[in-house]
Symmetry: C4
Subunit: 281 residues, 4 copies
């Protein structure tokens, strides 16, 4: 029942306007990178930059600052919790989760971000440990009609209070239930990633087994966040972003092989694809 | 009324003399990179190196040292405030502002730099938070006839005590007023960057919407500082540097696309352009 | 008596299955990188990623975290000793030794890893200082039939309580004795690396003098660990991994020269070789 | 009276022997990188690796460890002063000076290195601040017939107790006096670098104004140290190394331009040149 989507049949990326300046190209806040986990949010942030967000700021633990910033000086970094509210306010959209961890810092930051998005009607991507925390803590609530959630099977199972095997046995059903339960656009990652919004399910035709490597999900959440930050709808961001990410991986694998493909290998291909001229479908 | 300038019609970059040594190629001091903001001055410093300054030193907060130095060991770094006077004295020209922040460290360092330039008749580029601080604190005064200032619309508005909308509604007038008020060469950044010196206004024909991304201004200030450090006049540095920076972005965008272009992507193109042989115009 | 093995005559690398996800592609734990020695385990970890392990985690000293993580965000890092047991439990296979050092931290970590592998029947690669510690401390025992050990001549001599000259004078005998004494697969590194398992000895025909440079052994241990993490047998991992590593160095040397070849130069060639289609031999 | 030397007329680099291992390819210790000055010794170390030393260790200040190690994990790093004697003992040759600074740590380390080389008849390169300290402190004595010194004009002037202008006015005489006074091979850097040994002076024909940029001298000292570590004589190391370094810069400048050439841009060209087959002259 899922409709097939393929990047090669999708419309071109909306080009930049001539009188653009960096603030108009989107301001994305990426939240994660707790102590010991700086690498994940580093990947998210560069993915967003390469997808074309004008400004990307990372809110992370001070211990992760250098991992995030040293090899990519274009990423802005904020680590002071007393600046969190102001930093949330600065953003056009938010990604939360990659490397967030599950300690008290994580919960505090996640709670603040969820509240902020609810109050400000701001769109956000919720990924990784943010989903695990939400599954576990009742007071952490996904703001309705504002979020894209991006669980893999295990995270989906925790959100739905079922087993991962149950999710795997009927992925279509699991994805649909996620959207219905949480009033979100849901991206259920895996071979044949499913995207669901109210009443619709798509399956992404792009992608390859080489994507089964650490950090690939972090890159996806950055791509999605970048699209949200430009004011693109959750549904279109999810459809376009999932296919873009997977198709970039396909080209990277074709050029240098599926095995040993790393998440950051996708960056040049993402940039290439968002700049491809296409006839609007 | 603004004259059009285009890198492709400008004279060639002045070549190096055969008996040059590194001290003769210019010594540029880049000041900024407060705690949490190391990336900006990192971009400025490499831009200056790629534009051909012989020696580039960064004065930054100790917390930013590794962000500045770890991936570009050719940059010298000084973080000790007790060495600030000596470091100022070492330089042929100064860039101040990228990642400077607005705390007490920022003010102290900016005040010292402005005094030093005034006393020594040293040329400088003033950018970003340095402009914001000057707009706010009366005792921080731009030394007359020595500076290039590089505001975007918001910073220009703060300096002129008007709104950003007013600046945007007549950019030509705003740029002219900046030069008249502060006795500077002014670079009003944006689509169609304006350069003004006493009695003259130019508009840069180079550039593209892909430049609306974080760090592009930091790169520009490094290019301008490099030119100043070689003894080139403020007016010519501003004209040549703005067009060089924008034309480098044009080539980078032509080769790999406007969207997802990052500030540091410009470095190889800057180097390429300063080495291009041209018939002197 | 040693059989000759050559990468060019070996079967193709087992491809990824279509319905793979990252946990199924192998989870490898790389242990080492004590204070002052972060570089070694950094090399091991990326080698494993480029050989195709789905997830690579490094357990190292906190002082080495940034050296391991900052230029390769795909590597997960854990530095908290209270998390060691859980981290051991997470893994499918283990590499221990590169940059491990020989202090109390080293011994404690090594002892825990050896016990864990013995209890869990988990396969592991033992390299470098882990071998030196085992040679010196009676209570550190290699778990039988689970390990690949990768000594150079000096480390082999310490394990066998003979001199390095004795090892060098009959490398075949030394390799055989290592396997018999410790019930391992043994890789005796050097020009003409020997691989021995119970009753068999092979000599690797690939390789070149350019490999005599720091970090080459760290890369080898990562390659071997990656193969183990995918459930490939110790014997086949050793044969395939040693030849893969040496052949990658041969191609790297052919392209850019033997002299000045560095260990990390091998990464793209490793990836290339594991993706090469071959007729199964 | 100086003989002209040119890399293009020099014999080929001595190739590696088939039965080499990394310890036989030379062990070079690079000493420098005081607090605030990590970049310089980082450049020296990679230059040595790319010239073909088997093992390179840096002894530096703890504050510089990450700058040295994070982007080049093949470099070993030692920062503990209590390990200095052992580290000196490990080496086949030493480079001292790049980023050494002039504080008490600098003096202590330099004194130890000079004593060690004198006692062990070990060859060394003395550069940068090590030369400044020797010029200033009588008890710091260059061990006779063991060192290559690599001053620029200012450092030469300090060593000879004359002005830089006097050095510049007769560079040939200054170079000769350095060799006579200190019983060294002397490399007087500048346009037309001079190499002198007892009774002989050469002028290097290679090189270009693009080399007048920060860090070029640090790279040269690494090249020279690498050659010493392989047992090549001081005189031949100086002749071959100076020309190799300058010719690498010439090729780099031809390919991408003199202006904006950075010191680390030379690494691939150095590797290329040491691997070039030539008919022995």
């Amino acid at each position: 029942i899922a409709k097939v989507v393929d990047f090669r049949n999708m419309p071109a990326f909306p080009g930049r306007k001539i009188n653009s300046h960096k603030g108009m190209m989107g301001k994305l806040l990426c939240i994660g990178g707790n102590e010991q986990y700086g690498g994940a949010i580093r990947l998210t942030a560069e993915a967003a930059l390469r997808t074309g967000t004008g400004l990307v700021k990372v809110f992370c633990h001070e211990a992760s600052r250098q991992t995030v910033n040293n090899t990519r000086p274009e990423i802005m970094v904020e680590t002071r919790t007393e600046q969190l509210q102001q930093t949330l306010g600065w953003s056009d959209a938010i990604v939360i989760g990659p490397g967030l961890g599950q300690d008290s810092w994580s919960i505090k930051v996640l709670e603040a971000a969820l509240s902020h998005c609810l109050e400000q009607h701001k769109h956000l991507v919720i990924d990784a440990d943010a989903l695990n925390l939400i599954a576990e803590h009742q007071r952490l609530v996904i703001p309705q009609n504002l979020a894209i959630i991006t669980p893999h099977s295990g995270e989906a199972a925790r959100l739905l209070k079922v087993t991962a095997t149950e999710v795997e046995s009927d992925r279509y059903k699991a994805a649909t239930r996620l959207t219905q339960t949480f009033k979100t656009v849901s991206v259920l990652k895996g071979p044949g990633t499913l995207i669901t919004s109210q009443g619709n399910t798509w399956v992404c035709e792009n992608g390859n087994p080489g994507m089964a490597t650490g950090g690939m999900g972090d890159v996806l959440s950055g791509v999605l966040g970048a699209l949200l930050s430009k004011g693109i709808s959750n549904r279109l961001s999810a459809l376009y972003g999932v296919c873009l990410h997977s198709h970039a991986a396909d080209i990277a694998a074709q050029e240098n092989g599926e095995i040993g493909l790393l998440a950051s290998d996708l960056f040049p291909y993402i940039r290439k694809l968002v700049n491809t001229e296409k006839t609007d479908a």
